[in-house]
Symmetry: C2
Subunit: 355 residues, 2 copies
Amino acid sequence: MIRVGVNGYGTIGKRVADAVAAQADMELVGVTKASPDYGVEAAARRGYDLYAAVEDRTDEFAAAGVDLAGAIGDLLDAVDVVVDCAPSGVGERNAPVYEAHDTKAVFQGGEDAAVADASFNARGRFEAARGADSVRVVSCNTTALSRLLAPLDETYGVEKARVTLVRRGGDPNETDRGPINDIVPDPATVPSHHGPDVNEILPDVTVDTAALKAPVTGMHTHSVNVTLETDPDPAAVRDLLADESRIFLVPEGAGIDGAGALKEYAADAGRPRGDLWENCVWEESISVTGRDLYLFQNVHQEADVVPENVDAIRAMASDVDAAESVARTNETLGVGLDSRLADGELVRTELPADD
Amino acid sequence: MIRVGVNGYGTIGKRVADAVAAQADMELVGVTKASPDYGVEAAARRGYDLYAAVEDRTDEFAAAGVDLAGAIGDLLDAVDVVVDCAPSGVGERNAPVYEAHDTKAVFQGGEDAAVADASFNARGRFEAARGADSVRVVSCNTTALSRLLAPLDETYGVEKARVTLVRRGGDPNETDRGPINDIVPDPATVPSHHGPDVNEILPDVTVDTAALKAPVTGMHTHSVNVTLETDPDPAAVRDLLADESRIFLVPEGAGIDGAGALKEYAADAGRPRGDLWENCVWEESISVTGRDLYLFQNVHQEADVVPENVDAIRAMASDVDAAESVARTNETLGVGLDSRLADGELVRTELPADD
């Protein structure tokens, strides 16, 4: 049983906490919050023990009527692994604290790669985290690009990938973010950090990325071009991607025309918080001219790294192998959407990860 | 056991179907769709029998591999009550079909009041629907205004209410709606239809409404002024509203600052689809100058009429009284959010409806 704490019960942390709590081989010891806002209710409702993220802020919680199990140091002493879900950049400041408590740590992609011993994606970079003291789960966009490029590179060879990322401006609850009426080059220099970050996972893949920011909150959208080393057949590419357990092919002709409908689809499927843990590749966008493959994919920035965090914990603190970890994580969370009706019955488009 | 069909398994219909299926005294016989888009998967996943909304379109479903239990006529013959959740204006065209099949019908607020024998809100207009052949559940905005004005009128007397409705441009999956960067008077004339529509529920309350449309998809926002006949105390108004089972007081100081955080709060609470069935009144907005009461409330346009539809069915087709129906609906759906931590435990701010 791996004892796990989540430091920062926010957008990512609350999802990671639920995912960890669902694993038979993990125990969620507790979660932290920096202040007693509405997130403490969610934690209380689920029966999670709450700790103050900052040692000297426990009074604030008491004033709000919130019982604490302790502060961050108490949590670190009680766990094998802490998942750092603090805001970008705060993780780096937390790193020495984790070291001082001799606690293994999983960081998020908002931190620089240097924060951890290894960058992590379950698809191809699982063993690099084996037994490490610290790993960094790469960002939502890098996770999605790695999941897509790995099977393409294995099957066809990637000569070069060129990707435009149209990123959401902020999460749905971030009222202070922009833009509100613009599409902003962000950064205006090419490549954005995403290309080099993919190389932390897939060092031999050549990829350039250009990033924009748009006035939406639901999902990121990638316009992907991959020049392959051998001629791809669009139907074979479709089948290749359909076989990936963390890629969801948005069914052609289902009337799903944007992030709004995609998230409604997820909610209809009973997903907690309408989360889409998979890359969402628009099936009808898969197109080929010569060796050039094109497609659009959507990325749910709040959700796609969640199963990766669970696998990262196993890679660091158990001897479970990649295929078994991914299969367990997928099964417990329900990764892999049912899709397509055949004779009135739902069938899965994806195979289990361990097939 | 009341046998119920839902004609139009879309934004409202899918929610009404789930709500009906959760009632011990109702049987959901089936739902209809006009075309085999992604909604058919949601129906199949829940095991709901699917019917074609249009008699001569069954071939389209067969071509998509979707099994049908029949077409709309078959459904109407099998149910006691049909809930019409067709797009605005289509309900009026459906009305003669329901009459021809001698099937009681619940219409939505997008239809003109003349479509049905009575307009309906469980708060104060339950008995008007008793045994009727057709009722119209008033629109999401009118529902919310009626829920708010009824207790104020009963307790203080309403001299006049003046409300500005800043409405969402479209639902999250409606990619073809606007505005995208404007706030549009809609209509530019005052009053909007909402004031007169409130009078279908509360005929003696004087209310003027002015309506705008904004580039958001999450919720409507109402800026409410009510001149009362007697001096209100803000704390007493707060308690009055907190006692209403279908009003949720957004807790002051919880860090919930807009519709995004409100819907995240609902998702955190495990609400299906993140639905907010209650008026969401911002506690700290409740203000008084003289006899003038001011407050902001948010309205989840996809959700707030859902419990009203369930109650409308009972009013038409059973002898259950209003308090008992509201209590049953609230209990089965989970209306009435837990809120506020006291000694680390969640407590409800609302009393059950039948207290």
